[in-house]
Symmetry: C2
Subunit: 211 residues, 2 copies
DNA sequence: CATTTTACCTACCGTTCGGTAGGTTTATGG
DNA sequence: CCATAAACCTACCGAACGGTAGGTAAAATG
């Protein structure tokens, strides 16, 4: 999709500069509303420099989107591996996602807006759908394992569990884009995992986990 | 924002035709990637006809976005009024939203993609943020009332409850855009409401509501 | 030292963009 | 029957779009 520089250090830096500027503008204005002129203007390079390093505008965008999805997926997998038991896993995942999001806000914004965008807004051939499903399937298998281990209620379908938690996760991340004062830290992660696990309904007589 | 026709029946039909075509293209390609040329071409009217009925491209888009948000909000409010008790209310809301979505797929897609879009992708001055918050606040007050009535666990913050349910709702709607074979009907609404209320964790010894 | 490849440059291409100037037809009220 | 407004039309504008042709300085390679 994009041609990497073959060795020169200056070339590598040019490429990074283009990527940085592109990330900023794509995150702020989306794909269609961002022009390559603005990118090269902000990166202080010429237009053919961009077209030397990347096949076209879509290829440049693709590189960023893949980076975003792959980074997020890796973070989730590593976090899940750290926790023992479903509750710890969910807390670790949420905490890690909140941290990743905080330090890669623009990448995350690109990932979300492309996932929810109209199909024709994003360049054709971009397979963000597969990336989303890979993420989803991981959550799905997580829930299935936890059901098999007796940690989760077997009367729910594992798909509903995966969707429910994935939706909760995504919503808090996207909400944080609009409402930045809502703190997303480990404490919030614990609250949300507990809400998901214990349910919102008032408990009649229960000595269960504290919310 | 847009000038309504003053009485002519043909004029009203022209306006509707423009709105129909615009809805189709904005939903399929987003705001920036949709050109007014394509809209007027599809609506079989001339460009000045569009600019006679609407101030500009942004005004046309604004009309559609407002229609989408207002329709959704009204549906949610009416559904909530139909249910007695928080569980019935949530089931009614989910069912009504699924139905509204099914019959207004393109409007809903516009509402979602603009809500999650990059700020610069959508025309400036579009106050979709207020529309989202109005929706959110309604859910928030719903949860607060249910907590006050002892139906929901007081140990959770009402904001977390509202966000959690809102996130679950939104995720299922957006997921349905990508995975249409996942049926969204009243049965699904009941499952999701129960998941939200009862929680995902396995019950040790509980004669609570059936999931 | 000659040659090839890398890593760009200036200048420009054809197309499409959102939007409008200015004229024309159609319904309406006096 | 004439005037006025509504409801469009054809034709066009300047600007910006994504992308490229053709040339070049510097570095790697023989």
């Amino acid at each position: 999709m994009d041609t990497a520089p073959h060795g020169s250090k200056a070339a590598w830096e040019t490429r990074e500069q283009i990527l940085r500027a592109a990330l900023k503008h794509f995150a702020n204005a989306g794909y269609a509303a961002t022009s390559v002129q603005r990118i090269v203007g902000d990166a202080r390079v010429s237009k053919p420099a961009l077209y030397y390093h990347f096949r076209d505008k879509a290829g440049l965008f693709d590189a960023l989107v893949n980076q975003a999805h792959d980074g997020r997926f890796q973070v989730v997998r590593e976090a899940a591996a750290r926790g023992r038991g479903i509750r710890e896993k969910l807390v670790e995942i949420l905490t890690a996602l909140f941290g990743y999001f905080h330090h890669n806000r623009e990448l995350t914004r690109i990932a979300f807006s492309t996932a929810y965008a109209a199909p024709g807004e994003v360049p054709p051939g971009l397979c963000h759908f597969d990336k989303c499903r890979r993420n989803m399937e991981f959550f799905h298998s997580l829930m299935q394992d936890a059901q098999a281990a007796g940690e989760l209620d077997n009367r729910f379908e594992s798909r509903d569990l995966a969707y429910g938690f994935y939706g909760l996760t995504n919503f808090y991340l996207t909400a944080h884009l609009l409402i930045p004062h809502y703190r997303l830290d480990r404490k919030a992660a614990r609250r949300l995992a507990d809400l998901f696990l214990a349910g919102a309904a008032a408990k009649k007589s229960v000595k269960g986990r504290k919310p």
